[in-house]
Amino acid sequence: MDKKIVLLKDTSIGAADKTKEYYSLILNLLRDQNLQDSVQVVRVADIGFYDQGLVLKILPGQVTYGRVQESDLLPVITETIQGNKVLDRLALEPNEKQLRIVLRNCGQIDPENFDDYIAADGYAALKKVITEYKPEQVIEQLKASGLRGRGGAGYPTWMKWNFARQVKAEQKYIVCNGDEGDPGAYMDRSVLEGDPHSVIEGMMIGAYAIGASQGYFYIRAEYPLAVERIQKAIAQAYEYGLLGKNILGTDFSFDVEIRLGAGAFVCGEETALLASIEGKRGTPQPRPPYPSIKGLWGKPTVINNVETLANIPVILLKGGAWFGKIGTEKSKGTKVFALTGKIKNSGLIEVPMGTTIRDIVYHIGGGMLASKGIKAVQTGGPSGGVIPKEFLDEPVDYENLQKLGSIMGSGGMIVMDEDDCLVDIAKFYLKFCVEESCGKCAPCRIGGFQMLSLLENITSGKGTASDLAKMRRIALAMQKASLCGLGQTASNPVLSTLKYFAAEYKSHIEDKKCVAGKCRYLLNYQIIPEKCKKCGLCLTNCVFGAITGNREQGYILDPAKCTKCGRCYEVCKFKAINKG
C-alpha cells in the first residue's frame, strides 16, 4: 500500500473543537491495524468545509468525508484507506464556490519577477491583440464578454472604450483608477501588489483598442507597496520592450506613468481624479461631457478600475464568449470582495456573479465570529447600503443589489451581527462622506452635515419623531442635486437602514434605547448587588467619581455623574455591571 495521508478537522460550529480527540482515536485505530507507519494523520487548521462535523480528507485522491462519527472511523480505515473504496454515505461534494480570474496569479507568482508572469501566460493576450486583432475586434470581444466596470457603477467597459475610440483626436489617454478608498475594501491593493503586470497588460490592450499612446496609474499614496511593485513592473516592461516605442516590433507605442493620490476619497470620482492628475485641486466637474469624449487635458480619456483591467488579458486570451458564460444574465464574470466584519475567514474572495450572500458568508467566510446571529451585510461602502438577513439567499449581481437598496460598489462586504447597531453604522458611513466631501456643491456639503447632526441627535437620545422625515427629505435633495457620485450616494446607507431597520431608529427615538448596546449615550449602567463581590475594581477604574462605596457595604453607581464610558463594565470580572 502506498503511503497515505489523512487530514482531519472538527468543523462543528458552536461546540468545542474535538479535533485532537479524534486525532488520538484514529492513531490508536491505525496502531491496532498495524498501519501507523504507512499512514500519516494530520490535524489541519482549516479544511475548506464548515459546519460539517468531523471532516476527513484522504490523500492522495482527495476523498473527503463529512459528519464522520466515531463508529465510522474503523470502516474509513479498512475500506477507504486500505481498500481504496469510497464510502458514498459520508462523501462530501467539493465546496467550489470560488472562481479565480482576477486573482489568478495572486499568491501564485512572484510579483517582482517578470518571467514568473510570462510563464503564467502573461503578455500573451497583448501579443495576440497587437499582432492579430484590429482595435474593433478587441472591442467586439469585450462586448461579447459583457464585462462591466468593477469600480462601482457597472458601466459596460466596451461602451466606454467604443466612445473613446470613435472620437477623432491626436492624443488619447487611458487611466487606471487605483484610488481605492471605501472603508474595508482592499482588493485593488492586493491585485496591484500581487499581480501588477496583469493590470499593465490590461491597460495596454485598452490603449490599443481606443488608440491611446499614454497611460496613467492613479494610485493612492497610502499604498506604498502597491506603488513600488507597479513601478518595478513598469520598469521591467520597458526593459523588455513591452512599453515604449514599437512594442513587440509592431507599430503600437505606449508609455505609462504613475500619479499618486493624496488621500482624498473624492479623487476616486473620475472627473476629480482627472483634475488631480492635471495638478489641479481634486474636485469633480459636471458631466457631460464624459471623460471618454473630453477628459484629461480635454482629450478623450478612458478610466478603468484596477479589477476591470486585470480581467482584460484573460478575456482576450480565452475569448469574450467564454467570459460571457460565467455569471448571471446581465452581470458577467466574477467579482472580488473584501469580506470583513464579524466573520471567521476575513479576506479576499472571488466568486462568479450570482453567488448568494449565504454561500459567501457561510461556505466561504466560514460563518459568523463567536457563532452569533447575522443581522445584515453591508456592500458598496459609503455609497452602498445594508442587506438584512432575510435576503441572504439573494444572488449577488449589479441589478439585484440595486433592487435591494444597495450597490455592488468596489466590492467591500462587511458582515454584521446582533451586536452592531445599524443607526450607528449609518452614522459612521455618513460621517465618512461628510469628512470627505470636497465642499464644492451645497447639497453635499450642507445636506451631509445636517443629516449627520440629526443622526447624532438620535444616537445620543435627543431625537424627535420628525427627524426621520427630515432625513428623508435631505437625502432626496442630495441624491437629486449633488454634483458627483459622492454626494448623490452619500445618503444611501441612511436610506437603506431606514428602509429595513426603521424599528431600530424608532427605539432610539421613542424608547431612548439602543438594542445592540452600541450608542453609548443611550446606555445605563447599574451595579447588580447580588452579583457584586465587592472587590472595588469598578471604583478604582471610574475616573469620573460616579461610583461610591466601600468593601463592606458594596458600591453604588450614580447615574447623574456617569459619563457612560463603559470602563466599569469592561473591568468587572463578575459581570455585576448591567448595561442596557
Partner: protein, 122 residues
C-alpha cells in the same frame, strides 16, 4: 537585456527555467508583511542554508486568506502541496525540519482550501 518581439516572444517563454522540485512561497503583500511575513521569509532563507536543504524560497502576493497570514505554500517532492497559515519563526523552522526534511506534514497549521476554489486554466 533583450527586447521582446513578436518573433522571439515564445522562445523567451519556453526558455524560462522551470521551478525547482522543492519550493516554499511566502505571501509578501501588505497583509502578509503586517502579520510578520518578513521574519518568516528571512527564517526560511537562513535556516534552509544552515540545514543544507535544497529548497527554493520564493516571494508571492496575497492568496486572499488574510485571516491566516502569514501564509506559506510548500511543495516538496513526494508530499502533497499544502498551504500553512499563521506561520511564525518557530513554525517556519518546524516546516523545514519536518515537511522539507522528513517529508511529514506539520500538525495544526495547514489551511487546506484546495476543494473550495477553481482557477482559470491555461
Amino acid at each position: 537585456m533583450i527586447k521582446l518581439t513578436k518573433e522571439n516572444f515564445d522562445q523567451h517563454k519556453t526558455g524560462i527555467p522551470a521551478v525547482g522540485k522543492n519550493w516554499i512561497k511566502v505571501g509578501m503583500s501588505t497583509c502578509g508583511i503586517a502579520a510578520g511575513a518578513d521574519e518568516v521569509y528571512k527564517t526560511f532563507v537562513e535556516e534552509a542554508k544552515k540545514k543544507n536543504l535544497t529548497v527554493d524560497i520564493k516571494k508571492c502576493g496575497c492568496l486572499g486568506m488574510c485571516y491566516a497570514e502569514p501564509l506559506v505554500e510548500v511543495h516538496v517532492e513526494g508530499v502533497p502541496q499544502v498551504i500553512y497559515g499563521k506561520v511564525n519563526k518557530d513554525i517556519a523552522i518546524k516546516i523545514l525540519e519536518k515537511h522539507v526534511g522528513t517529508k511529514m506534514l506539520v500538525n495544526d497549521y495547514i489551511f487546506d482550501l484546495s476543494l473550495t476554489m477553481k482557477k482559470v486554466g491555461k
